[in-house]
């Protein structure tokens, strides 16, 4: 102590110098060891920029995707039809709902209003799980039945009939939910009826049932369009994006047509096997007639334009049947369909923390009413997050933005930012969903928390196969849920993406429906009712599809389709419900006969083959062969088989010219024609002009993080000079002191430093 005092007394400056040197050594170390400003290593800079971009910026356009399209490419939809078509079409749909399936008859009347011989083609959608098995062509009072043929063979037969002047009808599948009818040699003033029939399962969720009839194909965005090159895989290319061609009707032209273009009338004969309650149609006004178990539903307005999907919903009074069991003998084999609904239990445990990744589509096809619906749905979902949950938002058009670098806690601050981000979204640009999907499936959490990816999109894209492939390969522990937005979403994509991602899909229409539909979805997502499901059969040999059983959410049934030589044994479905072991046994011999099971099995099997092809489990040729066999055996239109009906007697006189016409499709309701087609660009030729016009649009801007723009060398210089000055001052002081003391300091120092 005394020494210390002495020390300070003797040389109080020393202490300051000690501090100074320590600080200085640190500075020197930092100046030499880790240069702070200018000489950042390129790699660190890249990573920092990547982190900044991920943390709230948009990747520059070039890195996200192609020049594929600024808006929907009209090429994907065959441009715009401004002329009233010579061929006029009327459609009548009759759906007979019986139990859990619907048998639907679609009759299309093609009337030739011109004085020329015509060939007409019409692209139309069907339910994504529908299986077309019947074609009838009616000419005058003669009926020609369609035969199932391999796709190319059917096409050749049709072309030949076309050349010969024979009437012919051809049904081809372009996508599992998209079909094209071609009708050859319709005489002047003549009307030809084309009637197809298909089978479709009824959707059932929590005692609510629905039948959805898509009525229009929305223009699809061709991913990786011109200039991008090479982004389509073989599977996608072979699925044939280039065949998705149908013109879109110009609204002005439609207005000129009296009685509307492509009118549709719909009748549903409802016989669900119980008394249906709360029968409603969210998008069309309907009349309900009849009483008890059998009802007839018709459109209140008669024929409607084919510009939005028709959906009929009903629910079961009281408890919905928890079990359904149907069988059919077809050829040498037995087919069986079992529907098992696990009991809903009161939740005893709180919902565990979750990670929810929202992916929102703000591409041009969402313009109009869809974008507000998607935003409302997302805002609603954000409101349901709890502080212990994590979340992130990814938006995409032909660029994409990941809001947070990785999923963040649902704190008030993060949620505020997410809301601001959501509110700022505008519908514009193409639909490059793949990068967004890849980003959404990238799971960096590493913990065991439930991870749910929720897509809000209309699915207006054509590289469906690539999407499926990505999910199959990289789903990890994520569950993918699809929310189909708008009046005509691509439900095939929705369904298959959800299936591949072991989630569910929901349609959200317009306006007020958004919140209530989202609420239902989120309520169900809050906790799967049954997990780890397995199905096994004792005392019989039977394979059930699907093989990977999904998690079931409240009220969802498990639908199993199987095939066997001889139906026997007991089916046991077991799993975990609220952490408790649950199982149910079904005696398969008790199945009731039904004549739809075999076809449902076949269409389910075809969907599985497609999925195996997407995921690379089955090579392309084998999958094609397998689908062709199934289509031929079950008389179903598939990607490999078509239905063809030909009138053997030629009707078009030799030498009479034939004109070909693609019937224009209405734009789905709520879509913004001007936005998609940029006013009245009449054809592909105007596309370049449209691009230029879009270029002037000021709101469309790209975000870019700017690099650090200063070296701050003056500050460093000032510091260096200050140190030099103080060193010089110290030296002067030392010299003065040494001169006065005249001590042995110098030899001592030499010894110290030796």
């Amino acid at each position: 102590m005394r020494r210390m005092t002495l020390f300070l007394d003797r040389d109080s400056l020393t202490v300051m110098l000690i501090l100074g040197v320590v600080g200085m050594l640190a500075l020197v170390a930092s100046a030499f060891g880790a240069p702070a400003t200018a000489n950042v290593s390129p790699r660190a800079a890249d990573e920092a920029i990547a982190a900044m971009e991920a943390g709230g910026g948009t990747a520059p356009r070039g890195s996200a995707q192609s020049e594929g399209g600024l808006v929907l490419r009209p090429a994907a939809s065959g441009g715009v039809a401004t002329e009233i078509p010579a061929m006029r079409l009327g459609t009548d749909i009759v759906a007979n709902v019986s139990g859990q399936t619907a048998r639907v008859t679609v009759t299309q009347a093609f009337r030739n209003t011109s004085d020329q011989w015509m060939e007409a083609t019409y692209l139309y959608p069907l339910p994504e799980d529908g299986a077309v098995d019947t074609l009838k062509m009616v000419v005058g009072d003669r009926i020609f039945d369609g035969k199932i043929k391999p796709r190319e063979e059917a096409r050749e037969m049709y072309e030949e009939a076309l050349e010969n002047g024979q009437k012919a009808g051809l049904v081809e599948q372009h996508r599992p939910n998209m079909f094209q009818n071609s009708i050859a040699n319709i005489g002047p003033g003549e009307t030809v009826l084309v009637q197809i029939e298909f089978q479709a399962p009824i959707r059932q969720v929590a005692g609510d049932y629905s039948l959805r009839m898509p009525l229009v194909v929305g223009p699809r965005y061709l991913a990786g369009g011109e200039g991008a090159g090479g982004t389509m895989t073989r599977a996608a290319a072979l699925a044939g994006a280039d065949d998705l061609v149908a013109p879109t009707a110009d609204p002005e032209m439609v207005a000129r047509v009296g009685g509307g273009l492509n009118p549709v009338s719909i009748t549903v004969n409802l016989d669900p096997g119980f008394t249906a309650e709360a029968i409603s149609s969210p998008y069309h006004r309907v009349n309900v007639a009849g009483s008890g178990e059998k009802r007839t539903i018709t459109l209140a307005d008669g024929a409607v334009p084919a510009n939005r999907d028709f959906e009929l919903r009903w629910s079961a009074a009281g408890d919905a049947p928890a079990l359904g069991l149907f069988k059919q003998r077809n050829g040498e084999l037995d087919y069986v369909m079992a529907t098992v609904t696990p009991p809903s239990v009161e939740r005893s445990r709180p919902v565990p923390p979750r990670e929810m990744i929202f992916v929102i589509d703000n591409s041009g096809s969402m313009a109009g009413e869809s974008m507000p619906a998607a935003k409302r749905s997302l805002l609603y979902a954000l409101g349901t997050l709890r502080p212990q949950d994590r979340f992130n938002i990814i938006r995409f058009d032909d660029t994409m933005t990941v809001l947070f670098g990785s999923a963040v806690a649902a704190s008030t601050r993060n949620l505020d930012e997410a809301r601001r981000f959501t509110n700022s979204l505008d519908a514009n640009g193409g639909t490059e969903m793949l990068p967004a999907l890849e980003a959404a499936l990238r799971d960096t959490s590493g913990d065991e928390r439930v991870r749910q990816v929720i897509f809000l999109t209309d699915g207006s894209l054509s590289n469906e196969a690539e999407m499926m492939e990505e999910i199959q390969r990289n789903r990890g522990k994520s569950r993918v849920f699809m929310v189909g937005i708008g009046s005509a979403p691509n439900n095939f994509l929705m369904r298959r993406m959800a299936e591949a991602g072991r989630g569910t899909f929901t349609n959200v229409g317009m306006g007020d429906e958004a919140e209530s539909q989202m609420q239902r979805l989120l309520d169900r997502l809050a906790q799967p009712v049954a997990t780890n499901l397995t199905a096994s059969v004792e005392g019989g040999n039977i394979d059930f599809a699907p093989r990977d059983l999904p998690d079931l959410y409240a009220g969802e049934p498990l639908v199993l389709l199987g095939r066997t030589r001889h139906l026997a044994g007991t089916l046991t479905v077991s799993g975990l419900i609220d952490g408790q072991r649950w199982s149910q046994q079904v005696d398969l011999t008790q199945a009731t006969a039904s004549d739809v099971v075999a076809k449902l099995w076949a269409s389910r099997r075809i969907a599985e083959v497609e999925a195996e092809r997407y995921s690379g489990q089955m090579d392309y040729e084998r999958a094609d062969k397998s689908i062709e066999e199934l289509g031929m055996a079950f008389h179903l239109v598939t990607s490999r088989t078509s239905l063809i009906a030909i009138d053997e007697t030629p009707s078009r006189p030799d030498g009479a010219p034939l004109k070909r016409e693609e019937l224009p499709l209405l734009l789905p309701a709520g879509w913004d024609f001007d936005h998609l087609f940029g006013g009245h660009s009449a054809s592909e030729a105007d596309w370049a002009a449209l691009r230029d016009a879009m270029a002037d649009e000021e709101e469309r801007r790209e975000q870019l993080n700017l690099p650090q723009g200063s070296t701050n060398y003056l500050l460093t210089l000032a510091l260096g000079l200050t140190l030099l000055l103080s060193g010089a001052a110290g030296a002067a002081w030392w010299r003065r002191r040494e001169r006065s003391v005249q001590g042995p300091a110098l030899p001592s120092l030499q010894r110290q430093l030796a």
Binding site: G20, V22, T37, A38, N39, G709, T711, T716, G727, Q752
Partner: protein
């Protein structure tokens, strides 16, 4: 004290008085050495920036002749892509490819150059190559000579000050847009999140 106490204990005890007296001298020496080092380091930045431009100008001329980028020195990971000139301010600087911090020590860098869409964005330090951005005025002309021999003249349209992560540019630059970006505020010696952007539009 820290460094010196590593000496053998016996000697340290015997020469305690000598050591304490020597300490201030060590401090002074350290101050002088450290101060010189930091000063040199600080001066190195603008000197490097200036010297590099000389080498870059040579590489640019070669690139112009050959039509392909030529590295200014053998170990460089960047190459000249264009020259930006503001005649009113006597500015002529060689622009480097890639927006890396390393390249920015030598010259302005090209953060984005999408000629299909007519958008070019350059970045440089506010206290070296883009110090002149402070003195730019609306109406000034900026020339951009590319190594492919083309030369484009832009007229300064306006300025904006944005956070680094809130910068946006039009997806389509119309006839052609050029942005010169640097740190802001000028004269500050502390790195901040704000950036100054000078927007210029292609003439003719």
């Amino acid at each position: 004290m820290l460094a010196v106490s590593a000496k053998p204990l016996s000697e340290g005890r015997a020469s305690k008085g000598g050591f304490l007296r020597a300490l201030p001298l060590v401090m002074i020496a350290a101050l002088l050495v450290g101060g010189a080092a930091i000063t040199a380091k600080a001066l190195y930045l603008p000197v490097k920036a200036e010297v590099a431009q000389v080498l870059l100008a040579r590489a640019f001329d070669q690139s112009l002749e050959q039509g392909t980028p030529v590295r200014p020195w053998s170990w460089a990971d960047t190459a000249p892509v264009s020259r930006v000139r503001v005649d009113r301010l006597g500015v002529s600087e060689i622009v480097l490819s890639g927006g890396s911090g390393e390249a920015m020590a030598f010259g302005p860098t090209e953060v984005l150059d999408d000629r299909a869409r007519g958008v070019t964005i350059l970045a440089a330090h506010r206290d070296t190559h883009f110090e002149f951005v402070r003195d730019l005025k609306a109406g000034d002309t900026i020339s951009l000579d590319r190594i492919d021999g083309t030369s484009v003249t832009y007229r300064v349209r306006g300025f904006e000050t944005v956070r680094f992560d809130e910068f946006t540019y039009p997806a389509h630059g119309g006839s052609g847009l050029l942005a010169l970006t640097t740190c802001w505020p000028f004269g500050s010696q502390v790195s901040g999140p704000m950036r100054r952007v000078a927007w210029a539009e292609k003439l003719g």
